[in-house]
Chain length 387, copies 2
Amino acid sequence: MTGTRRRPAALFLAVSAACACAPGASAQQAATAATAPAASAPDFARLEAAQNAANDKAGPRSVPGRRIPVPGTVSPEFQATIAAPYRVPAWNANPGSAGEWKALVAKLAAQTAAPLPALRERLGVVSTPEVIGGVRAWIVAPRQVPERNRHRLLVHIHGGGYVYNPGEAGTLEAVLMAAIGGFTVISFDYRMPPDAPFPAAMDDAMAVWRAALGLQRPENMAVFGTSTGGGMTLALMLRAKQEGVPLPAAIAPGTPWSDLTETGDSYKANEWLDNVLVSYDGYLTHAAQLYAAGHDLKDPQLSPIYGDLRGLPPTILTTGTRDLFLSNTVRTHRKLRQAGVEASLQVFEGMSHAQYLFNPDAPETREAFQEIAAFLDRHLGTEAPPP
Amino acid sequence: MTGTRRRPAALFLAVSAACACAPGASAQQAATAATAPAASAPDFARLEAAQNAANDKAGPRSVPGRRIPVPGTVSPEFQATIAAPYRVPAWNANPGSAGEWKALVAKLAAQTAAPLPALRERLGVVSTPEVIGGVRAWIVAPRQVPERNRHRLLVHIHGGGYVYNPGEAGTLEAVLMAAIGGFTVISFDYRMPPDAPFPAAMDDAMAVWRAALGLQRPENMAVFGTSTGGGMTLALMLRAKQEGVPLPAAIAPGTPWSDLTETGDSYKANEWLDNVLVSYDGYLTHAAQLYAAGHDLKDPQLSPIYGDLRGLPPTILTTGTRDLFLSNTVRTHRKLRQAGVEASLQVFEGMSHAQYLFNPDAPETREAFQEIAAFLDRHLGTEAPPP
């Protein structure tokens, strides 16, 4: 059949009365001209033949180099996020020493933290420094907490590959959740490498969770976080189960780094397409090694996808079609469902890693958080804690 | 920072005591060797620099040509499905006449139908020809219908780009649903182009739905189908709403062709990666024109994503990370949620278009149908119809 491609398709012209074809052009030519992105090969037949030849046997998939347009199926605000250049040097950082790591991390954290006071002000959110379970933290809350959320409390675990977003920089997601969901949130500054590798971050998370249990009923609480914060949310559930500590009523791991072993299809399929993480061989490989510090990356406290997920609370997961962690997220969703856990998945069109955090004014940001907040609202109790 | 890449990272060696590095090799070199697919550029630094340069301004995303490995994160059975070559000539059919279309369609349908009797026998499913609402159909049911499904009925709308799968070939999905879900299913043979373009298929679907309403309570019924069948499922709901006919209790559009205009990110992002549909510029562009026959492709009866989805029944959607219709599916999911509809999304790792239909023995096939069946079971009533 392939030898017959691209000849005038008389049948289509006959049935497609409304086709806006140039005189003498075939319907196929018109369709290609109308839909092909600027940089795709104009000679589809040649590409088709080459691709068929490269994919005529069972095995890896050969995909040609391409320029992929910014989709028109998202808001103008989010189109700008999708169109943005790669995040250099965040995605491909490879500092040669602990000192260089710290300098880079401090620089990026300062950039992230700088707009936060104005953002909080604009969104009507207040942030109060605290120490919770011995860990530096902030209580992030809307100026007016809705009555139904009065006895509810969320614990937020920030992302950043176990290296980025120390200090207040880590509270961005908590600010968005407080503003859009109307919840009171504890966001904490867990220890990170190079100074404090695994399990310091999980020890801090566990200490905060134990302290939170003294503040509200577990059935009124949720834990959430994105990327590393999503992976840590899942690992924290496994650890709480193991230590016999109550679990929260729900969790919301966003695009979780649930597998540190670079296992999963989208690590390759979405490589170079995701404009946030770009490639696992950027900083993530380093960060995983730096954090794990010689521990087995398949340890469920590092890669919770390998843990026993039975008994986890209802879970809502968020990712995007261009996310390097799309596979992490959908694999976690399937594993939770296989373990009998109520688990809901939302996938945003054209979204790279964690981009629902990047643009507070994009309708997609509001939509992602509203969906998560509605899920939590369905699962969290409202009763006051015992006196 | 990029200028400092790939120099020995002393810090990692210091903290990664368990790193299995060759003497003298950096941790990064070891990590790259361990994780890079066979055909990826060995010189990551060169690729990194080229990619950074090609993606340093806002705009389309430049992605290099690659060989993407078969993921190890799915069952061995499903790995074979992912590894399979492109489906030539199904994906890129471009017959030059109505006669050639019919010959190709008949040949492919015969191939699909041939194994069905043995499959039904093996799965304990019986198929009985009927005429329902004036449309040729089959009642497909398990030999023993579970008691809870006794007064339940599903209507199945087959896929195939509005051109493929006439006759019994269209019943494959109904057989799997009857076997795995234990439901009684009506699967019908709607008219298709070149003989019968739009709206013949939808007229047939509506006739069958009206007839089904005479057989069971709507609250005990669901409509489901994959690809074109998923798009038609959604369009049927819009039409039933418009005509004031009761809707079913739930629907299950799998990877629906909900947008015939080639709008959506995965039409480009997953092009050449999906080994089923491969490219929209294969047969789909032709099929859309052939079916629409001059009608506006944005008409919600052709592209239901553009319709008013309020009031649709609870919906479960299924797709895969490599699916050319990933965007169709997630956009439909978001639109349903925005319209206040209960909508659940499942996305399978590494799956191309509709591959949960391709391999009855893959655990992923069973899992996809079990999840859909459980969703329907939660939403469908069980009461007997009025006498």
